[in-house]
C-alpha cells in the first residue's frame, strides 16, 4: 500500500559512511591555538589604532556605536544567556546616564568619578527589576520590563529638581574635556571619549566572558534552557536570575555613563524611551543572541544602518526601508550574523577542548 521507492539501492548493507568533510583541528592550549588567539588580539589592536586616526566626527559616531554595543552586551546577559526577555533596558541605560548626569551637574563631580556610581545604581535598579522575573516569565516578563521603559521618562519628568525635568541636563563642556594627565587637549575630546567608551566595552566583554566561564554562567544558561531541571541540580534559580539582572544592569549602567559623556546632554524624550529598548533588542537579535561578539555586530547594524540609509532615501521612506531591512536580516540569518558565522566556523574548524579524551570516531 505504501511504497517508498528510490532508484535501485544496494539491498542490504549500505555504503560505508562518507568521510566527513575536512575540518581544521584546533586543540585548545596548543601552539596553533595560542598563535591564533594572539593573532586575533593583534588584529583588534591594529583596528583600534586605525580607529583613533579617524576624523573626529567619525570617531564620535564610532563612540556612539561602542556605547550601544556595551548596552547590548549588558542586555545579552539577561536576554541572551539567561533567557529573560527584557524590553526595559532603555531605562537601565537611562539610570546610568542620569546618575552621571545628576552627579556632574548638581554636585559638580568629575564624570570619571561618577562611573562607579552609575554602575552601582544600574546594578541596583537591575536587581530590583529582576525581582519580578522570579515569578513572571516569557512575554509577561517582557510586559513588566516594558512597563519600566514606559514609566522611566515619566518619572524623570516628575522629578525636575533632580533630573531637570523636560529640559533635561546639560553637562558643561569643561567637564567632558580630557583630563590634563592624558596630555590631550579639548580638541581631542572625541578621541578621549572614544577611548573611554572602548575601555568600557572591553571591560564589559571581559566581565561577561568570565561570567560565562564560571559556574554562574552555566547556571544562567541552565535556567534559560530548563528551569525545573536546573533547580533540581542545585541551581538557585531566583538568585541566578537576580544576579544576571544585576550584572546586566551594571553593564548597561556603565554604558549609560558613557552615553552621558558622549552625548553631553540628557533628556527624557531622547535616548531613554521604549524606542531605545527596541533598538537594543533588535541589535542583540541581529548580531546573534547569546554570542559574545554579536552585540558588536548588532550595534554596528542599528547605529550605522540608519545613517547609511539616509544617503539612499530621505524622510519616511528611510523608516520603511529600515524596517524592511530588519525583516530581511532576520529572514536571511535567523540566528544573527555572529550566530551564522559561528556555525560556519564550526563546520570548518574542529575546536578540541582541553582534557578531551583521545580522538574518537566522528559522530555518525
Amino acid at each position: 500500500m505504501t511504497t517508498t521507492t528510490t532508484p535501485p539501492a544496494p539491498a542490504v548493507a549500505g555504503a560505508p559512511p562518507r568521510p566527513s568533510a575536512r575540518r581544521l583541528r584546533l586543540v585548545i592550549g596548543s601552539t596553533r591555538h595560542r598563535l591564533l588567539v594572539l593573532g586575533s588580539w593583534l588584529v583588534v589592536a591594529l583596528l583600534v589604532l586605525a580607529a583613533t586616526g579617524l576624523e573626529p566626527y567619525r570617531l564620535g559616531q564610532l563612540s556612539g556605536a561602542v556605547v550601544i554595543a556595551t548596552a547590548i552586551v549588558g542586555l545579552n546577559v539577561v536576554t541572551g544567556y539567561t533567557g529573560l526577555l527584557s524590553v526595559g533596558h532603555s531605562a537601565l541605560l537611562g539610570v546610568g546616564a542620569y546618575t552621571t548626569g545628576v552627579l556632574v551637574v548638581q554636585l559638580n563631580l568629575l564624570p570619571l568619578i561618577t562611573v562607579p556610581a552609575a554602575v552601582l545604581t544600574g546594578a541596583l535598579v537591575g536587581a530590583f527589576v529582576g525581582l519580578p522575573s522570579i515569578r513572571i516569565r516569557g512575554l509577561y516578563l517582557a510586559m513588566v520590563t516594558l512597563a519600566l521603559a514606559v514609566a522611566f521618562p515619566e518619572v524623570l519628568r516628575a522629578l525636575p529638581e533632580v533630573t531637570g525635568g523636560n529640559s533635561g541636563l546639560s553637562i558643561p563642556l569643561r567637564f567632558l574635556a580630557p583630563p590634563a594627565w592624558t596630555g590631550l587637549t579639548l580638541a581631542d575630546r572625541p578621541l578621549w571619549t572614544f577611548l573611554l567608551c572602548l575601555s568600557a566595552l572591553l571591560v564589559s566583554m571581559l566581565l561577561v566572558w568570565c561570567v560565562l566561564r564560571s559556574r554562574l554562567g552555566r547556571d544562567m544558561r541552565a535556567v534559560r534552557d530548563h528551569e525545573a531541571a536546573a533547580e533540581s541540580f542545585g541551581v538557585h534559580v531566583a538568585r541566578t536570575k537576580i544576579l544576571a539582572f544585576t550584572i546586566s544592569g551594571g553593564i548597561t549602567g556603565l554604558a549609560g555613563a558613557m552615553l552621558a559623556m558622549y552625548v553631553g546632554a540628557l533628556s527624557p524624550a531622547g535616548s531613554f524611551t521604549i524606542l531605545k529598548a527596541i533598538e537594543l533588542l533588535s541589535g542583540l537579535v541581529l548580531g546573534g543572541v547569546a554570542t559574545q561578539l554579536g552585540p558588536l555586530v548588532g550595534a554596528a547594524v542599528v547605529v550605522y544602518l540608519p545613517v547609511l540609509l539616509a544617503d539612499v532615501v530621505q524622510g519616511q521612506g528611510s523608516g520603511v526601508l529600515f524596517g524592511a531591512l530588519l525583516i530581511v536580516i532576520v529572514f536571511v540569518m535567523p540566528e544573527g550574523v555572529v550566530g551564522r558565522l559561528n556555525k560556519l566556523w564550526r563546520q570548518r574548524v574542529d575546536v578540541v577542548p582541553r582534557g578531551m579524551p583521545a580522538p574518537v570516531a566522528d559522530p555518525p
Binding site: 564620535g60 568629575l110 515619566e154 529640559s167 546632554a265 524622510g315 523608516g319
Partner: protein, 398 residues
C-alpha cells in the same frame, strides 16, 4: 585635582554676551571670510510623526533662501541649505551635526527638540559654528553668557504665558481661577510650568491641573474645580481633544490654547465647541481677511509663488519662511560688517539682530537682545466663519 572640576575657561565663552573665538578648536576657520557659499545645515526630524511639519518648514525656508540667493545673497555669496534627519534621537542628531560641521563644513547649523538641541549646541560652539534660530521650547539657550554661539527662534514660553495671563487679567478684572490641562509631552509640561509661573503674583489663581492622557477624565476633574479659565498646554496633536471633552460634559470656561494649536485644521472639526477660544500668535495668518490685503502678506504670497512653494497658507510654511527672513537679515548684516562674512561676524550679527520680519504681525519684532520675539497677538476662534479673528492689540512684553 580634587573630585570636582573647577577648571576655568569654559569653551568659547568670553565676556557675557560678546562672542569670541577663544577656545574654538579652529579659531582661524571662524574668522575666515566665507566667499564660496554659506553652508546652512539643519538636523531636523524628517521621518516619524513630526516629519510632515518639518517638511513644510524646511521647504519654506529653502524657498526663502532661494529667493535670497536670487536677490544677490549675502553680498554676492549664496546660501547653500541642506538637511539631515535627526529621527528625534539625540545620538543620531549629534553624530549627523558633527558630520555636517566637520565633513560638509557647515557655516551655520540648527535643530529642533530639547534633547537634540542640547547635545548639538556644545559641539557647534566648540567648533565656533553659529547655531541659529533653533526651535526649542527650553529657554536655557537664550542665555548669551553661557551660549554665545546660539540663538533661538521660538519666543520664550514665558512670553506667551505672561501674555495669556495679562489677557485673563484684562478679561476678569476681579481676578480669575484657572485650570490647566497638561499634555504628557515635553511642550505640555513646559507650557504648564510657565503658565503657573506667570500667574504667580497676579490675580489669576491656578486651582486645578490634570493630565491630558485621558482628556475626558481630565475634563471631569477640571470642571469640578469650577475654574473660570481653562489653559490647555498641549502638543499639536491634542489641541482638539480638550475642546471636545469639555463640551461633552457641558463645561464652558474661557479656553486659552497655546500657540502650537493656532491652526485652522485643528479647530474646524471641533465645530461650535471651539467658538471663542483664545490663542496667541506672532506670525501672520495669510488666510485671514485682516492680513490678506496687507502689502507684506501680498509680497509673501507672490514671493512664495515665484519659488514654487506648495502650500504658502499653512502655518508651518509661514514659520519656515519667517526663519528664512531672520537668516536673510543677519547674513546681510554680517556681509556688510567690517570683517566681512565670517562665522564670527554671522554670530555677532545674530546677537545684535533687531528687526521686523515681514511675516510677523505688525508691532511685533525679532530682537535677540531681549530674547527674540517681542510680543504676542491674541486671536479668538470664530466657529461660524471657521476663522481666527483678531482679538485686540498685540501684547508687547519685551
Amino acid at each position: 585635582g580634587g573630585v570636582t572640576n573647577d577648571a576655568a575657561a569654559p569653551a568659547a565663552t568670553g565676556e557675557a554676551g560678546t562672542v569670541s573665538t577663544d577656545g574654538c578648536t579652529d579659531p582661524d576657520a571662524a574668522t575666515a571670510v566665507i566667499d564660496d557659499a554659506v553652508k546652512v545645515g539643519w538636523t531636523v526630524p524628517l521621518s516619524g510623526p513630526y516629519a510632515g511639519v518639518w517638511q513644510q518648514i524646511t521647504d519654506a525656508f529653502a524657498a526663502r533662501m532661494a529667493l535670497y540667493n536670487e536677490q544677490g545673497g549675502a553680498g554676492g555669496v549664496d546660501v547653500d541649505f541642506f538637511t539631515t534627519d535627526s529621527k528625534l534621537d539625540p545620538e543620531i542628531a549629534k553624530a549627523l551635526n558633527n558630520e555636517m560641521i566637520q565633513k560638509d563644513g557647515a557655516d551655520i547649523v540648527s535643530s529642533t527638540g530639547t534633547g537634540q538641541v542640547a547635545t548639538m549646541i556644545d559641539d557647534a560652539a566648540a567648533a565656533c559654528v553659529p547655531f541659529i534660530a533653533a526651535t526649542s521650547a527650553s529657554g536655557t539657550y537664550r542665555d548669551a553668557a553661557t551660549y554665545p554661539w546660539a540663538t533661538l527662534y521660538l519666543p520664550s514660553v514665558q512670553l506667551e504665558t505672561s501674555a495669556i495671563v495679562a489677557a485673563i487679567e484684562r478679561e476678569f478684572p476681579d481676578g480669575a481661577t484657572a485650570a490647566v490641562a497638561i499634555s504628557p509631552s515635553e511642550s505640555g509640561t513646559v507650557y504648564a510650568d510657565a503658565f503657573k509661573a506667570s500667574a504667580q503674583g497676579t490675580s489669576v489663581e491656578v486651582v486645578e491641573e490634570a493630565s491630558l492622557t485621558d482628556p475626558n477624565a481630565a475634563a471631569s476633574t477640571l470642571k469640578a474645580s469650577g475654574a473660570d479659565v481653562l489653559f490647555v498646554a498641549s502638543a499639536a496633536q491634542e489641541c482638539l481633544a480638550m475642546t471636545t471633552a469639555i463640551s461633552r460634559i457641558g463645561w464652558a470656561p474661557q479656553v486659552y490654547q497655546n500657540s502650537t494649536c493656532a491652526d485652522r485644521s485643528l479647530y474646524e472639526p471641533a465645530g461650535a465647541a471651539a467658538d471663542g477660544q483664545r490663542v496667541f500668535k506672532y506670525e501672520v495668518v495669510p488666510s485671514l481677511p485682516e492680513f490678506a490685503g496687507t502689502p507684506a502678506v501680498e509680497q509673501y504670497l507672490a514671493d512664495a509663488a515665484s519659488q514654487g512653494l506648495a502650500d504658502p497658507m499653512s502655518n508651518w510654511s509661514v514659520t519656515g519662511w519667517t526663519i528664512g527672513e531672520v537668516y536673510a537679515d543677519l547674513l546681510t548684516a554680517a556681509a556688510e560688517s567690517d570683517d566681512g562674512l565670517t562665522r564670527l561676524s554671522i554670530m555677532e550679527a545674530a546677537r545684535a539682530q533687531d528687526f521686523h520680519p515681514a511675516t510677523f504681525i505688525e508691532g511685533i519684532d525679532f530682537d535677540t537682545a531681549t530674547g527674540g520675539v517681542t510680543g504676542m497677538q491674541p486671536f479668538a476662534w470664530d466657529a461660524e466663519t471657521a476663522q481666527f479673528v483678531l482679538d485686540g492689540d498685540p501684547v508687547i512684553v519685551n
